[in-house]
Symmetry: C2
DNA sequence: AGTGTATTTGTACATTCGTACGATATGCAA
DNA sequence: TTGCATATCGTACGAATGTACAAATACACT
């Protein structure tokens, strides 16, 4: 009986299981994409049985929503973790901020797929749209924070910051998309450079 | 027997049928999105039987690929139809070019959904990725054509045109996405204005 | 009018999907 | 130990999916 071939089952808290399922779901999203996510693929990736999904979640929609919430949190955390804003000039902070989102870690296929699928999924799922919107707003708030410092230094107008935020945020989304499309390193750096040049044009130094 | 209730069937050419199916598929893509497109929904929308799809197409993947090809053609045609480039200055042409893609016709939910889903679908389907890439390249070529005129007028460098194209193309994609996200008219105009300002900054007039 | 080919239809089938559920295992309190 | 709530598993089931296909229909041609 000690040579039991069954793998030992140990109970976990419902919280843990939910987390495991969500993590497995994210791995599925990275591999097969949002359109082909299925409950059985999640079960395989998390090495737990199919029944867990209906036991711990109301339905697959809840799994999807929670998974994108989790993914969004990961994207935000990774963005802000190595952002030391203290020791640089505002324009240097801006360059660092822009560069962080396009470091090799973020340009991996997996991350980009989740990001782009998130845009598509938001079209059909109201709750996912809210998650995407919040991701956008947080990122934007961080950008505006830096742009305001530039503005103080250079005596720009409030409307300038809004215009720059609207434009740069759009450019960043477009650059992520374009990286997935062309994998053109020069184009990516051109885009980021373009953002900096725009800031300098709208709020010129002295 | 003359009071036959069956609707009269008339034969059509295979070409016509393919077109009808593709048009119906596009309508489905606009309504339910790429992730939930099914053969039966296409059949209902085109008022023809399910069998047609397998009769005229190899499989559903071919339908999807052809439908996105068709959608891409529509987006391109609509972009370039009312683009009279002859009678204006280069910078005015640029403004007109940018504005065309963001006219009310293009900002309809249906069009944006197809555009955004196209990005997502391209992640999983190689052929769709090629279609998306071609849509990008054609649009870009048209933008560069105008930027080159600005460059001639203002004696800019070739690298300037590349930087502007890389940046503006990204910004436009991002602005479409952002319109779907926020429906903010001011933000959209800010973004387009930002593009023009960037051009003036990189290649200043005199 | 008759014949052959292409078109059209509806249904059938094997899969796969999300979800429900009974059976069993586990951990904890009494 | 016993009792009980919770967790875990595997399976079952109806619905929906893509595709195949036989039968029926329309039409061009002789």
């Amino acid at each position: 009986m000690t040579e039991n071939t069954r793998k030992p089952r140990t109970f976990r808290s419902s919280q843990d299981r939910r987390a495991e399922i969500i993590e497995a779901a994210l791995r599925c999203l990275q591999e097969v994409g949002y359109a082909r996510l299925t409950a059985r693929k999640i079960a395989e990736h998390s090495h737990i049985s199919l029944g867990h999904i209906t036991y711990h979640f109301k339905d697959m929609n809840e799994v999807l929503v929670e998974t994108y919430r989790y993914a969004s949190r990961i994207l935000l955390d990774a963005t802000f973790q190595d952002l030391s804003r203290s020791s640089k000039t505002p324009i240097e902070q801006l360059k660092a901020f822009l560069g962080t989102g396009f470091s090799p870690a973020f340009l991996k296929r997996d991350y980009l797929r989740v990001r782009i699928d998130l845009w598509s999924a938001a079209l059909s799922h109201e709750e996912i749209a809210l998650t995407e919107r919040e991701l956008y707003e947080r990122y934007r708030a961080s950008l505006i924070e830096i742009l305001e410092k530039v503005r103080e230094e250079r005596r720009g107008r409030a409307a300038d910051v809004t215009l720059l935020a609207d434009t740069i945020m759009a450019t960043l989304d477009g650059l992520w998309l374009d990286w997935e499309r062309r994998h053109d390193d020069g184009a990516m750096r051109n885009g980021l450079d373009g953002c900096v040049r725009l800031v300098n044009a709208v709020m010129p130094a002295e």
